[in-house]
């Protein structure tokens, strides 16, 4: 193949791809199909059932062509000499090059430049970057580009972001997470969307629906640490964005039916922390703030982890989630007291009985990590519950490899016998 022939062919291929993307707004996937030779003398662009495929033999020609001409076009664009027809050629080349290799930040920056000159449309670009993710789900540059686009959209809409936009973002990250295991890039993008694209009021509701989403996810991706990480992030978030009226009913109901009803206690959601944390709950920053947090953690410990472990034994990721729950539940009352002591000390400097207990705990915590003091958990309902649950769990799973590791962790790090 001579070079001009190759260029013509590449140009045709690029135009075909662009046309397909332009005409079909529901492309599911782009992929490169391993084909060592051009066997059939047909167009290497396959288009079927909303999927685009590119035969691998032409990839190097197309990519070479795009790369060698892109910079030339870019120079002209900078000088303002790029005529309108050339702009669409330029974009075709960018599309081709980025579909084949989305890891080139320079090319994405060229796209940004085109947007800033209003030569490209924001929605089209959101759509295009989604197609790129269907091919390479772990490409950081694509997510960065999407965030950049979203921020522009946000500005354009004057911060009134429709819920559909957030949902679309969630579905794109879902697609990327499904395509590639342990895809921290896509989950981080999900977190970014939550933190930057939602309003405070929406967030409460979104956290709730995301909690059920992660539960679904964990059910079918048992050994992927990302799912647990995201769930832990959500659980922690509940204490930070708290509006007293929003109680996550299903978790609260679980706690009532499992722990309160049997012992004949009836509580309002606000009284939950007092019941479980005992005397330390008076140091809570605001009443009822930890209700959701406690209820979700208890649910995870008693239902989620337990059930999953029965069906899928010996999964490290699941054991680590258990560790997270146990550690945070056990330490919650101690930490609250601790934080209070420190602020007490700073404020007045006066000593009272609580301070002496607190400093004792702090000494334990800082001096020796492995120092065992089983008594420190005494007197808190929540600690008793957790310890009881762990005893039962170890009785059932103690013999296995992961079970043994867990037992060691409990005794050495948490100080439980």
């Amino acid at each position: 193949m001579t070079s001009t022939e190759g260029d013509d062919m590449s140009n045709r291929i690029l135009r075909t791809i662009k046309k397909i993307i332009e005409n079909d707004r529901n492309i599911d996937e782009f992929g490169i199909i391993p084909t060592p030779y051009n066997l059939k003398n047909k167009s290497p662009v396959l288009y079927e059932d909303h999927c685009i495929g590119l035969e691998s033999w032409c990839v190097k020609h197309v990519y070479n062509y795009a790369c060698s001409n892109l910079f030339n076009h870019y120079q002209q664009l900078k000088k303002g000499k790029l005529c309108f027809t050339k702009v669409s050629d330029f974009n075709n080349m960018l599309i081709g090059a980025l579909l084949i290799n989305p890891h080139v930040t320079t090319f994405w920056n060229m796209k940004r430049e085109l947007i800033e000159r209003e030569l490209l449309n924001l929605d089209d670009e959101m759509y295009f970057s989604k197609i790129v993710l269907s091919h390479k789900a772990k490409a950081t540059d694509v997510f960065a580009y999407r965030r950049w686009l979203l921020q522009r959209i946000k500005k354009k809409l004057d911060h009134q972001i429709p819920f559909s936009l957030i949902q679309n973002e969630f579905s794109v990250t879902h697609m990327a997470s499904e395509k590639s295991p342990n895809n921290y890039h896509s989950w981080n993008h999900r977190i970014w969307t939550m933190e930057n694209m939602t309003s405070y009021n929406q967030l409460q509701q979104i956290i709730y629906s995301e909690l059920s989403y992660t539960q679904e996810w964990i059910n079918s991706h048992i050994s992927e640490h990302v799912g647990y990480h995201y769930r832990q992030y959500l659980i922690t978030l509940t204490t930070k964005v708290f509006i007293s009226s929003t109680i996550y009913r299903s978790y609260f109901d679980f706690v009532v039916s499992e722990f309160l009803k049997p012992s004949g206690v009836s509580l309002t959601p606000k009284e939950i922390p007092l019941h479980f944390l005992g005397k330390s709950s008076k140091y809570l920053p605001s009443e009822g703030r930890y209700t959701n947090y406690i209820c979700i953690m208890l649910y995870d410990l008693f239902v989620l982890v337990d059930k999953l472990n029965a069906t899928f034994p010996e999964h490290e990721a699941l054991y680590y989630h258990r560790r997270f729950l146990v550690q945070h539940l056990l330490n919650l009352p101690l930490e609250l007291q601790n934080a209070n002591d420190i602020s007490d000390n700073e404020n007045s400097g006066t000593k009272n009985s609580v301070v002496s207990i607190g400093s004792d705990i702090r000494a334990n915590k800082w001096s020796k990590l492995f120092k065992v003091s089983p008594n420190k958990y005494e007197g808190y309902t929540i600690c008793e519950l957790v310890i009881r649950c762990d005893k039962k769990f170890l009785a059932e799973n103690g013999g296995s490899r992961e079970g043994e590791r867990y037992r060691k962790w409990l005794s050495n790090v948490m100080g439980l016998k």
Partner: protein
């Protein structure tokens, strides 16, 4: 992912194995790879059944896949291909259950000269869909107790299953059941897996 990709029932003849019925769930693969993946899974099923002695069970790890095979004493064989998260115990119970049901419905005398297209056993697709959630297996606890896990031979690669002197690459290139495209796909997959692929 917790996933079953393929369930296949085969008959192990004196020299080679023949397919009696297969079901696939390949939605998680990219569109243009699905046909190649399907050819490969069929090819794997046959290769492994031919190298498993009757009345035994094996589990073979290959990359991110787990392949569970059970050849009964009467030469009826079942293979389940899952990903690594799917519980192995459930896979083996599933194979047992499917083979029992198949043997009840289709007489043993016809197995050796049946063609896959003539076999009417639609339950296989139902099983495949239902068992995507392994907790369905709770209903099966009775059989699970009978399953002696110590008797399952576990191999870490398919190479361990092959006979001495055999190589997977040679088997692939010699195979008539694989199309040109699938062979190209196999070669590329080998290459990309051989180095760190982020």
């Amino acid at each position: 992912m917790v996933k079953i990709y393929c369930i296949s029932i085969l008959h192990k003849g004196p020299t080679n194995a023949t397919w009696l019925k297969s079901a696939f769930d390949l939605q998680s693969f990219s569109f243009f790879q699905r046909s190649s993946v399907q050819e490969f899974m069929s090819f794997f099923c046959k290769t492994i059944v031919e190298r498993t002695i009757p009345a035994s069970r094996q589990s073979v790890k290959e990359g991110e896949y787990l392949c569970h095979v059970y050849v009964r004493a009467d030469n009826l064989a079942g293979v389940v291909i899952t990903d690594h998260e799917y519980p192995a115990r459930v896979s083996h119970t599933l194979v047992t259950k499917i083979l029992d049901e198949f043997a009840q419905q289709i007489p043993a005398s016809s197995w050796s000269n049946l063609q896959e297209k003539d076999v009417h056993f639609p339950q296989l697709n139902t099983f495949l869909a239902k068992y995507q959630n392994p907790r369905e297996a709770d209903a099966l606890t009775k059989i699970q107790e009978d399953l002696d896990e110590t008797k399952i031979i576990l191999h870490n690669t398919i190479q361990a299953v092959l006979e001495r002197g055999e190589k997977l690459d040679d088997l692939v290139s010699k195979s008539e059941g694989l199309s040109m495209q699938s062979k190209a796909f196999y070669k590329t997959a080998r290459k990309t897996n051989s180095c760190c692929n982020f």
